[in-house]
């Protein structure tokens, strides 16, 4: 690998273009900084389009070919939506005065983009780790001890994922002799589980927040500020989804994993008071739908999974932006402290409601046109319980993301807060997102044209009468249930609380155990050292007693003693010679 080929491979990489924009932008003054970064997002998008589908940036590492840039339909889909999200994030908090956060707002999407465009496992690993490191600055941005600790926990888990990925890459290379990033699969030809596949799936599973590995999302993302959380919500989990879609399509084990992901967050989101955390549970739930689609692995369900990822990035961000605007104006994201904001933040309310309708998959909005592909896959496979679970999860999405977010922020009880409407740049970002939600909902063909399996989408018509009626029945009757619960006052009041989740295991007993182990190690060390110290001191004392100035070996002996000794030795020599 010579320097010239490396430089030319880097120069055309859209991820590198974004990274350069982030690095140079830091030196510019407030106001100009984000504008400059936006230009780089435009240049990167232009380069992505100019290159078109294909493999670029071929290099050799220790004689093994690597492809730093692969633009295939799967990578292109994620690359496009990552550009949209990166641009909207820059616009949303345009007046930011925090250089480091601004850097992370572009450098972190850049690394996620590099990851989805990686054609080999080494390049993927490098971007995987850079994404972990750049994103932690968003978690740390607000400062404070609890934020610092959350950032450290986040970083530990992300780096653990990276280490597992590296171990998996080495194992795959040993098995196949190739570093290419393609389908890896969980099982070998005999149907036995491959350890390499398992390790890589675990690495991807941590980043996509599989059940029991999910709680880093709720622990760290809400610690970022109102804008940082939006950026975080997009990239890490979707980079992992793109990687799983590439490496593990049609892995049946993913279906139950995805189902659990879609269902358990519903209950945690229901009782959660912090609306940022509600949306973090929503990320888990939404990624669950994508994992189910990948697990079925049919062309239609794969289209559904990645198409849903595309639309989810837009409407999930929109919901985060709506809550973010409320936080920006009121200083809180607690449902108990919000409510009634529709009076003074009507545009934010309308945009957030559009996001809520989209995530709930109401006909006419972005979620509807792609989610059906995933649910239909379960039907097509005659997986009755999976199908029922997905419908149940859809009602759950409506509850926590479709109703709870807009209802408790803008309606519900009047908090008495009368904040100003969100600033124009936030409204612009939310307005564009809301427009995209509706545009994709009513005219999904451009999105469908980008999906990786065009043949499978050709005969899919989301607005078939039966599909629309079924979805409207499910959603409208669920809303009706909500109305009934409100009228009869059975809908549970929000309560300010901390709800324990899997992070409890490492934050309380795990931390106590670690503290105990540290104390015990210190105690054992001190005890062992004291024994060594005593023995050493005693030995030194004895040596000193013998060899020291007062010691026996240091005494001066009389001449007569020496003469006697010589006589004895000579006598012995005489005897030896005589007898020999």
């Amino acid at each position: 690998m010579d320097a010239n080929s490396l430089l030319s491979a880097l120069a055309i990489n859209p991820a590198i273009i974004l990274m350069i924009g982030a690095a140079l932008g830091v030196f510019l003054p407030n106001g100009l900084r984000r504008l400059f970064m936006l230009v780089f997002v435009g240049v990167s998008a232009f380069e992505l389009n100019r290159l078109g589908l294909g493999n670029y940036g071929h290099l050799e590492i220790f004689g093994n070919p690597v492809t730093m840039l692969r633009i295939d339909p799967l990578a292109r889909l994620f690359a496009i939506v990552f550009h949209i999200a990166a641009a909207l994030n820059l616009v949303y908090n345009f007046r930011s005065k925090d250089r480091l956060q601004d850097f992370a707002t572009l450098a972190y999407p850049a690394s996620a983009l590099g990851g989805v465009l990686a054609g080999d496992l080494v390049t993927l690993f490098v971007w995987w780790e850079i994404a972990a490191i750049t994103s932690v600055f968003l978690v740390w941005a607000p400062g404070g001890r609890s934020t610092y600790l959350a950032g450290m926990r986040y970083l530990t888990i992300q780096i653990l994922s990276g280490v597992l990925l590296l171990a998996g890459v080495v194992m795959v290379f040993r098995e196949t002799g190739s570093l290419a990033f393609g389908e890896i699969g969980l099982r070998d030809a005999d149907g036995a589980i491959k350890f390499s596949g398992l390790v890589i799936l675990l690495a991807f599973g941590i980043k996509s927040a599989f059940p029991l590995l999910h709680n880093w999302v709720q622990d760290s993302y809400p610690k970022a500020d109102f804008a940082g959380t939006i950026v975080l919500s997009v990239f890490t989990t979707k980079l992992a989804v793109a990687s799983i879609a590439r490496a593990f399509p049609g892995t049946p084990e993913l279906v139950p994993i995805g189902i659990v992901m879609t269902i358990f967050p519903i209950f945690f989101a229901l009782i959660e008071n912090d609306l940022k955390k509600v949306l973090c549970y929503s990320i888990n739930n939404q990624v669950g739908f994508m994992i189910v689609g990948i697990g079925f692995g049919t062309a239609a369900s794969m289209n559904g999974a990645v198409g849903y990822a595309f639309t989810n990035i837009i409407f999930e961000s929109l919901l985060f932006m709506g809550v973010g605007a409320a936080i920006y104006r009121t200083g809180t994201s607690k449902a108990t402290e919000l409510g009634g904001l529709y009076r003074t933040m009507p545009f934010t309310m309308v945009f957030t409601t559009i996001g809520a309708l989209s995530i709930s998959a109401f006909p006419g909005f972005a979620g509807f046109v792609t989610k059906g592909l995933i649910v239909d896959a379960a039907g097509g496979a005659h997986a009755f319980w999976i199908w029922l679970a997905l419908l149940f999860a859809s009602a759950g999405v409506l509850e926590h993301a479709g109703i709870k977010i807009p209802y408790f922020t803008f309606f519900a009880h009047d908090s008495g807060k009368r904040p100003k409407e969100a600033p124009p740049e936030m409204l612009l970002a939310m307005g564009i997102s809301a427009f995209l939600c509706i545009a994709i909902g009513v005219y999904p063909e451009p999105l469908f044209a980008l999906l990786p399996y065009p043949a499978a989408i050709a005969d899919y018509h989301p607005y078939e009468a039966a599909h629309v009626v079924e979805q409207l029945q499910l959603l409208l009757w669920a809303v009706l249930a909500f109305a009934v619960l409100i009228i009869i006052k059975w809908y549970p009041a929000e309560i300010a609380s901390t709800n324990l989740d899997t992070d409890w295991f490492y934050r309380v007993p795990g931390r106590n155990l670690a503290t105990w182990i540290a104390g015990a190690t210190r105690g054992v060390w001190n005890y062992a050292w004291s024994i060594v110290d005593q023995r050493f001191t005693a030995a030194m004392d004895r040596i000193y007693a013998v060899h020291g100035p007062e010691g026996a070996m240091a005494r001066s002996w009389p001449t007569g003693f020496m003469a006697l000794a010589v006589a004895i030795i000579l006598g012995l020599v005489l005897i030896v010679v005589f007898t020999a």
């Binding site: 001890r145 609890s146 600790l149 519903i266 209950f267 945690f268 229901l270 009782i271 009634g340 529709y342 009076r343 039907g379 097509g380 005659h382 009755f384 199908w387 029922l388 419908l391 149940f392 009602a395 759950g396 409506l398 509850e399 309606f411 009047d414 008495g416 009368r418 009468a465 039966a466 009626v469 079924e470 979805q471 409207l472 029945q473 499910l474 959603l475 409208l476 009757w477 669920a478 809303v479 009706l480 249930a481 909500f482 109305a483 619960l485 059975w490 809908y491 549970p492 309560i495 300010a496 609380s497 901390t498 709800n499 324990l500 989740d501 934050r507 309380v508 931390r511």
Partner: protein, 89 residues
């Protein structure tokens, strides 16, 4: 602030709430009835249960009720006071 409190917004007015509820009920009923019209139904349903025209309506209603009425009891298991972690870290 108190004078602002007394000014109910449009969404708090009884007329709006009643109208919203009425439209919701009518739309929900319309969707349920549409499920029984042959041209609004799948030609080849995947499961027997789909053949019942209002299945999705009933399931959506029941699922939502279950989530809220059963799910809220999760609090008993996992809810702690807000400063739970701050006191331990």
């Amino acid at each position: 602030m108190s004078d602002q409190h007394s000014n109910d917004g449009w969404a708090d007015k009884k007329g709006f709430r009643n109208a919203f509820l009425a439209i919701l009920v009518l739309a929900a009923l319309a969707a349920a009835i549409a499920g029984f019209i042959p041209s609004f139904r799948k030609e080849h349903p995947h499961f027997e249960i789909e053949k019942f025209g209002a299945f999705f309506a009933l399931y959506g209603f029941a699922a939502f009720m279950f989530i809220v009425l059963v799910g809220q009891h999760l609090r008993r298991l996992v809810a702690r006071k807000e400063t739970y972690y701050e006191e331990r870290e």
